[in-house]
Each structure stands twice: as C-alpha cells, then as structure tokens.
Symmetry: C2
DNA sequence: ACCTGAACACCGTTCAAGT
DNA sequence: ACCTGAACACCGTTCAAGT
C-alpha cells in the first residue's frame, strides 16, 4: 500500500481539522497562546509534555514553536506563569469567601485552597515548583508572580499580628514557614508519601496546619 | 586523521583503566553496585543521569545494565534507596549528639539535619522525593525506608508528649506536619524560592520550625 | 550466563531552504 | 515574516547474536 499524501484521507478527500486549525492559528495570530493551551491540556491529562506533541496537537510543524519560544524551557515557563496566575486567583477567592473571619481561619483557608489547587493540578503544580525554570533570569515574570503570592500570605500574617491574634515574629521567616508547610504537604501528597482520601483532604490539612497556627498565637 | 581503534591511545598503547575496571567488575561480580555508585557520582556532580552515561563510566556496554536493572526507573530506585539510607544515618547521628536534650531541641535537630542533607545532596534528594518511583509496587524497600524515617520522627514526638513537654495530638498528622515543614522548606530552597546564605541555613531553619514546635507545646 | 551491536522509535535543537 | 524538511546528536528499549 502506497503511503498516503499528507493531509489526505484514504478516499482522497482532504483532512479538514488539522488544516482548519492551522489556518485559524495563522489568522488570529495566536499561535503562542494556542501552544501554551495545548501544553496545559496535555499535562492536565497526565500525558508527556514534549515540543513535538504540542506542535502535533496545534497542527503545526514542530519547528514553528521556535518562532514563539526560544526552547522547551521557555514554553514550560509560560505554562508555569499561567499556573501561578491560576493559583493566585484560587487563593484570593478562598480569602474573599472569608471576609471578617479571624486570622486563624483565613490562614487555614489559604492552606486548604493551596493544597487543593496542587492536588487538582498535579502536573501543572510540578512544573511550577519542580525545576528551576528561571535559572538564567530569562523569565522574571515568574519571580514577580511568586512574590505576589508571598505578599498575599504576608498580608494575612500581618493582619493577624495587628489584630492582636498573632504574636509578632520575623515576618519573612513566618511566611516561608507557612509556605513550606503547605508546599511540603502538597508535594508529599503528590508523590503519595502522604496518602489521602480525596474527601478528607481539607480536614486533614486543617489538622496539619493547626499546630503551626497555634504557634503563631503562642509566646 | 583516522578514528582510533577503541581502547587504544594515540601512540598505540592500550587504554588501561576502562579495561581494568571492566575486568574488576566481572571478577567480584559487583556490577550492580558499581552502576549505582556511578549513578550517584554523576548526580553529585549535577550532571545528567542517563543509562548510557552510567554505562560509559563503568566501562560496560549500555545494554549490560539490563542484566541488573529492569529499566531506568529500577536504577533510580536503587539510587533513591541508598539516599534514604544515608538520610536515616544523618538523622540518627543528629539525635545521638543530643542525648537527654529536651524534645524541642531534638525536633529542631531533626529539622536542621534533614534540610542540611537535602541541600548537601540536591540531585539525590530530588530523586528520592521528586517522582513516584514505586508507582507499580516494584520497590517496596522504598516504602519501608520511608516508614523508618516516619517512625523516627514519630518516636521523638511521642517522647515529647510522654515527657510532658508536648500536648497530646493525633500523632500521624503531627508527624506529617513536621515532615511537610522540613521537606517543604528543603524543596523550596532547592528551587531557590527561598534564598539562603549557606552559613545561615541552620538558624533560619530553627526560626522556621519554632512556631511549629511552640504549637506542639501550646493548647 | 553474561555481554554486545545494530536497530527502533522517540527526543530537542540546528541548518538551510521554501513561500 | 513565517513555516518547513532534513539532519544531528542524543535518549531508553528491543531483538538477535556472539562467546
């Protein structure tokens, strides 16, 4: 059997989808976003993220990616960037649901929503925190977004101190302690060092966070 | 210039090391350990760990590895196993230096030595905690060693409760909280989300752990 | 029994063209 | 300007032999 001409069905008709997709991409000039979207789609299905697979999904030659991303790391950085934005939205929503709640409750909500995000987006979370993508300083946006998350946590701790619920402590260390706790729990759960029944994640996280929050109150 | 025959120096003499190494391996039948050792050597220099590079270092054909390890994951599991053993030794030594110290000090020592181990062996630590190597249950030894570490921490917390220094709490959750804190801090430091001056790591870790330990004391 | 060589199906990336 | 095809230097893994 002779090899089919590219883009042709066995009966001779043209393959429609690929070509149309490609056209669209050219048209709205949104190949960059399409590539990031395809990449996130791939990892959300826990499939292997490669440049070649991304290009296949979008329907372009794998070399076309280099027009928009210098290399694989640059694409991963764009994926991570989107992940940080999503995480920030998640955390802010969790806090918005708890207006006027005491500082302890708000810290708990930060922790539970943080862990829930990681468990709901395991591959995405791993790209965000697994490797150092900004090693050579090419993606300062990543640092900025991480800083924004840092400041979100810091703001809650400061509010707790100002309201008299938390004892004053070195803030930087306290933020990192909280973050270490949430990140450590999330990543241990992701590699199944901690085994969790999905329905019981939130109470478990609250139990985990409680000695820490108790420590913020204590002398 | 014609390509040299394999194993021959420019002046025609035979290359000694490779061949000798190979012979030795055959002799004491220790290829398996030699491979793991070479793998650890590679990652300790932060070079890329591949089956082919490991085989090159040991001086065998890359196919020879499959005689001892089913696949790359099996070799990584052996590397991780050695890592867990080293970590356990480190933690036990830290505790041995603190006989009769109060529970708070011993918890602090566990945390500082844990983080120090991760920072001193970054690539090794990443293999131990980065991916789920035992996904298909082929390497139960990994679970056993992790359990041993769990029980080490658990023993300290129990001792703290029995000595009256810590308030009684659900132990499993408390162990995982402590572990999350240490692991989270270590891995955030490894990806440089937390930036540390090497000399100040221990005091920093103690600051991080202190609200948690305070919480173990508090009601 | 143990090791090897050639081959396969993938990668990311580079070079040199095509339109 | 933007996309492509062929090629390169790597992988891990499989197959079929070699001693």
């Amino acid at each position: 059997m002779p090899r089919r001409t590219r883009g042709t069905l066995p009966d001779g008709r043209r393959v429609p989808t690929r070509t149309r997709k490609k056209r669209e991409t050219y048209h709205h000039g949104d190949l960059s976003n399409a590539l990031v979207g395809a990449a996130i789609d791939i990892i959300s299905k826990d499939e292997e993220l490669t440049l070649r697979e991304v290009s296949r999904r979008v329907g372009v030659n794998h070399r076309a990616i280099y027009r928009h991303f210098a290399d694989l790391t640059a694409l991963l950085a764009a994926v991570a960037e989107q992940g940080y934005r999503n995480l920030l939205v998640t955390l802010k929503e969790a806090l918005a649901d708890l207006k006027r709640a005491p500082a302890e409750k708000r810290m708990e909500a930060l922790a539970t929503s943080y862990v829930a995000f990681a468990l709901a987006n395991p591959a995405h979370y791993r790209i965000m925190f697994g490797r150092r993508l900004n090693e050579d300083g090419r993606f300062p946006i990543l640092e900025e977004l991480v800083l924004e998350a840092f400041e979100l946590i810091d703001g809650e701790i400061l509010a707790g101190i100002e309201s008299g619920r938390f004892v004053s402590r070195p803030r930087r260390e306290t933020v990192f302690a909280f973050w270490s706790l949430a990140h450590g729990f999330a990543s241990l759960a992701l590699v199944r060092r901690i085994k969790l029944k999905p329905a019981l994640v939130d109470p478990y996280v609250r139990q985990i966070v409680s000695p820490f929050v108790a420590g913020l109150r204590a002398l």
